[in-house]
Amino acid sequence: MPKPSIWFLRSALIHLALGFTFGGLLLWNKGIPIHPLMWRLLPAHMEFLLVGWTVQLALGVAYWILPRFYTQRGDVRPVWLAFALINCGVWLAGMGATLAAPGWVILAGRLCEAGAAGAFAVNAWPRVKPMAQEASHLR
């Protein structure tokens, strides 16, 4: 497994643990009330699990298994940029909403997430191609 995939997947697992912890507290609070402020965890719960866990896992696995150029996976710099942006985005958008931060914090988070998608696509787009045998057959 290449190094960027390891980082994406480990970060995804951390977000899974945090997202389920927030979700567990929310559900427990629904059954046995702990504190009304517990409901503020909902945006972080959703952001951490939808983007931090599911999307980030997909990026890590895609970087690992998409077709390669001989033995290389293309320019790794946009992939690292995507990693940094998606994690900043999840924390800004998720924790921003949970901590009732100003709207621009959540906007900045969403901007980071959109940037992560674009940066990841720079690497992934040319790797979505037929296998060498199929390519020679198509020619």
């Binding site: 497994m1 567990g24 629904k30 059954g31």
Partner: protein, 139 residues
């Protein structure tokens, strides 16, 4: 495909169908004047889809495809994967029944069952992270 992966993936498919049927019921409620308990299925619908289908599918495929844990136990500890399966599905099924019933029945038992559901699902997520973390690595 290992037995535990087949179990996770087939269970995920059952939840996928169940989730969309729950979504259908929620959408049909205002049209067919269905009882109010059906409206309480909205969070159940979403969690059947995201936990029962998406997360469970990921858990099953990760068990199968991630780098091997060791020569003796290539997919990590099977007993732990069984525990994850039982905790996740036990917790989710408990939620499916306890959450809507709690809206029409004031017996505190349903609140406690919801809290138990939260605990079981949280334990499943933590056990999955612990089991798969050592498998997220290079060659």
């Amino acid at each position: 495909m290992p037995f535990l992966t087949r179990l996770f993936v087939k269970t995920a498919l059952v939840y996928f169908i169940a989730a969309l049927l729950a979504g259908l019921l929620v959408a049909a409620r205002p049209v067919l004047a269905l009882p109010s308990i059906v409206a309480a299925l909205t969070p159940v619908y979403f969690h059947l889809l995201m936990v029962g289908w998406v997360t469970q599918l990921i858990l099953g495929v990760a068990h199968w495809m991630f780098p091997k844990f060791s020569r003796e136990e290539p997919r990590g500890h099977d007993w732990l994967t069984w525990t994850i399966f039982i905790l996740l599905n036990g917790g989710l099924l408990l939620r499916v029944f306890a959450e809507p019933i709690r809206t029409v029945n004031t017996d505190p038992l349903w609140g406690w069952l919801l809290a138990l559901s939260a605990l079981l699902q949280w334990l499943a997520a933590m056990a999955f992270v612990a089991n798969v973390w050592p498998r997220v690595r290079g060659h």
